[in-house]
């Protein structure tokens, strides 16, 4: 599998199809793999593929420094690939100008990450080249919102208490935003101060406003790669927030971000038949 990856990338670089391969490198086994940018055929050996390849590399596709390197090939897992669907819908990428190398993935992390438990895209679906086969794609896909549903067993008051405790640890390092492939705004709303909609201070007040905003700006866009959660140095479970909006989008509109390139995004469109039980 790794050889095939190396060969594919070497060819792409050799025949000039792409100028850079965005893939995973690793300093030592069983440490988290990190993004590397291979530009010379002889360096493809640096590329690795294993269950430590957590990152969603698509976040680099919209960065000017990476764009400047020329046409990219990018290594994606099935889950990361969903991001491409959204990015294209939002006209951030031109799919024809990107070579997508899809890796068969049974799960990342040991034990596997929460998202992998309910993964249904072990095999990338739209890749230009798909590498490998999934040995044991064990996953009960209906458990997609299990953690959220468990959390919602708490009373609203307890939920409030939980988040006050969690968000109190947020230092506003914005790792959640910066690592997110869909947070590509030129200037984030929290960095705009006329008016100051969100307090920039890492106080509970500022953190609430920030995390509500972050999660909601990803409404019906977040593909659930959970990079924000993984990136958070304070260990805040942002996944729950993403899930809650995703669940609303699925239950109310049967919409799941990144799954079907054909369907129109939920936000920015409407149906006269939309439910409105909560409105009087």
């Amino acid at each position: 599998m790794l050889n095939q990856l190396h060969e594919t990338c070497r060819k792409l670089l050799e025949d000039g199809t792409v100028q850079v391969v965005i893939g995973y490198g690793q300093s030592s086994p069983d440490t988290p793999a990190y993004p590397i940018f291979v530009t010379r055929p002889e360096d493809v050996q640096q590329l690795v593929w294993n269950n430590q390849c957590f990152g969603n590399l698509t976040t680099y596709l919209t960065r000017k420094e990476v764009r400047a390197m020329g046409k990219p090939a990018i290594v994606v897992k099935g889950c990361d690939e969903k991001t491409l669907v959204v990015l294209e819908k939002e006209s951030q990428i031109d799919r024809s100008q990107i070579v997508v190398i899809g890796m068969a993935c049974s799960a990342v992390g040991n034990p596997p990450l929460a998202k992998c438990q309910a993964c249904e895209v072990h095999m990338p679906r739209f890749a230009d080249a798909t590498i490998g086969q999934v040995e044991n794609p064990a996953s009960e896909t209906d458990g997609r919102y299990a953690d959220l549903e468990a959390f919602l067993q708490k009373t609203p008051a307890d939920r409030m208490a939980y988040w006050m405790n969690e968000l109190d640890r947020c230092v506003k390092c914005y790792a959640c935003r910066q690592v997110c492939p869909l947070c590509y705004c030129e200037t984030c709303i929290v960095d705009k101060n006329r008016p100051q909609r969100i307090d920039t201070s890492p106080t509970l007040k500022g953190n609430y406003a920030w995390h509500i905003t972050r999660a909601f700006h990803l409404a019906a866009r977040c593909v659930g790669c959970d990079e924000c959660t993984r990136a958070c140095p304070a260990g805040i479970d942002l996944r729950l927030l993403n899930l809650s909006v995703a669940k609303a989008a699925e239950t109310d509109f049967g919409f799941r971000a990144g799954m079907d390139p054909e369907v129109e995004p939920v936000v920015g469109s409407y149906s006269e038949q939309d439910k409105e039980g909560f409105i009087r």
């Binding site: 300093s27 030592s28 990152g55 420094e65 390092c173 960095d191 201070s201 304070a234």
Partner: protein
């Protein structure tokens, strides 16, 4: 001869401090997979055994992530400014890593240089730091590369050494430290010893040489390419101390607050005009490294890094100081070979 304290007595001591209304902080598990320095409500929350490297640092106790500088009230057409109550509660950190404590002597320079920062000094005076000498280290640790050690005493008021038998040797290094443990220890002939620490992997002189001569190097581009531009490294670094000052309030009034800021944010150097002198992330990564290993040393004679490795540990893409320095070292070597 040495002074020792049993685990049990230490715990009693901690509980006693808490009951005295002091703010006692130490490494603790806030979640199964989240280890942080937090204020403790009971001694049993304190973690001292095994390899303990909290994701945050104790700089927060002395240089808070957000700090009110003064308040203002709007009365009709008048604006009234008022000072904030200075903090008065004594703070004690127990089980801090020496690499966290070692940051403070370095930080003291910048906070007591042309302007003596009263907020910093106040909390510095109120805080007593009890470190625990390291026995173990992980692949990110590199204190030995920045001329520190697993038992570096810088910034510590007292240092504990795990004797492995349920007792700790206590070395009181300052009067604050002495006062803290007065009467709580017994003499013993057991002498604690720190672990060997990581093998030094970085030649700082070589690095400095590169920095002095390579401000415009194209290498910065590749060194910074994978950085996503968040503040995780700076905010979990014991020595990073940049801040931003903002006013927050409404029609009734508000406050001027000082918040942590990080040099990897694209907005960090954004001018009001819209011009950004560090518009490219390679410039920002360069700034971070240069500040720590050239600018600060040139100005204060101290490296702005304790080799704790938190930047890499907390980096979503495992970047941080050590990998960059190692890369620089490699570049420097190959370049010197080429020049030969």
């Amino acid at each position: 001869m040495s002074e020792v304290i049993s685990q049990q007595t230490l715990s009693q001591l901690v509980d006693q401090w808490i009951s005295q209304g002091k703010r006692v902080a130490g490494p603790t598990r806030v979640k199964p997979d989240v280890l942080l320095y937090e204020f403790l409500t009971a001694a049993d929350q304190l973690l001292l055994n095994g390899f303990i490297r909290p994701a945050n640092t104790i700089k927060e106790l002395i240089f808070p992530r957000t700090e009110k500088l003064y308040g203002y009230r709007l009365e009709g057409k008048q604006i009234e400014l008022y000072d904030v109550e200075p903090p008065a509660t004594e703070q004690i950190v127990v089980g801090a890593r020496p690499c966290d404590a070692a940051a403070f002597p370095t930080l003291d320079y910048v906070f007591n240089w042309d302007y003596k920062d009263p907020f910093y000094r106040r909390l510095r005076d109120l805080t007593t730091i009890v470190t625990l000498a390291c026995r173990d280290h992980d692949e990110h640790c590199f204190c030995t590369s920045v001329k520190l050690a697993p038992d570096d005493e810088g910034g510590s008021d007292a240092m504990l050494f795990d004797l492995g038998d349920g007792n700790y040797e206590v070395r009181c290094l300052t009067d604050k430290g002495k006062a803290l443990f007065a009467g709580a220890t017994q003499s013993s002939d057991k002498v604690g010893k720190a672990g060997p620490g990581p093998e030094p992997s970085i030649d700082l002189d070589k690095v400095k040489q590169f920095l002095d001569t390579n401000f415009e190097s194209p290498q910065w581009q590749s060194l910074s390419l994978r950085c996503v531009g968040c503040g995780a490294c700076a905010y979990t670094c014991p020595t990073c101390h940049c801040f931003d000052i903002v006013d927050e309030g409404n029609a009734a009034g508000g406050a001027r607050v000082r918040n942590w800021d990080a040099c990897q944010f694209s907005m960090f150097t954004m001018h009001a005009s819209g011009h950004n002198p560090r518009s490219d992330k390679s410039q920002r990564q360069r700034q971070r490294i240069m500040h720590k290993f050239q600018i600060y040393p040139d100005k204060f004679g101290e490296i702005l890094c304790t080799g704790c490795g938190n930047c890499t540990r907390n980096c979503p893409v495992s970047l941080g100081v050590k990998p960059v320095l190692e890369a620089i070292q490699e570049i420097a070597t190959t370049e010197t070979i080429e020049t030969k």
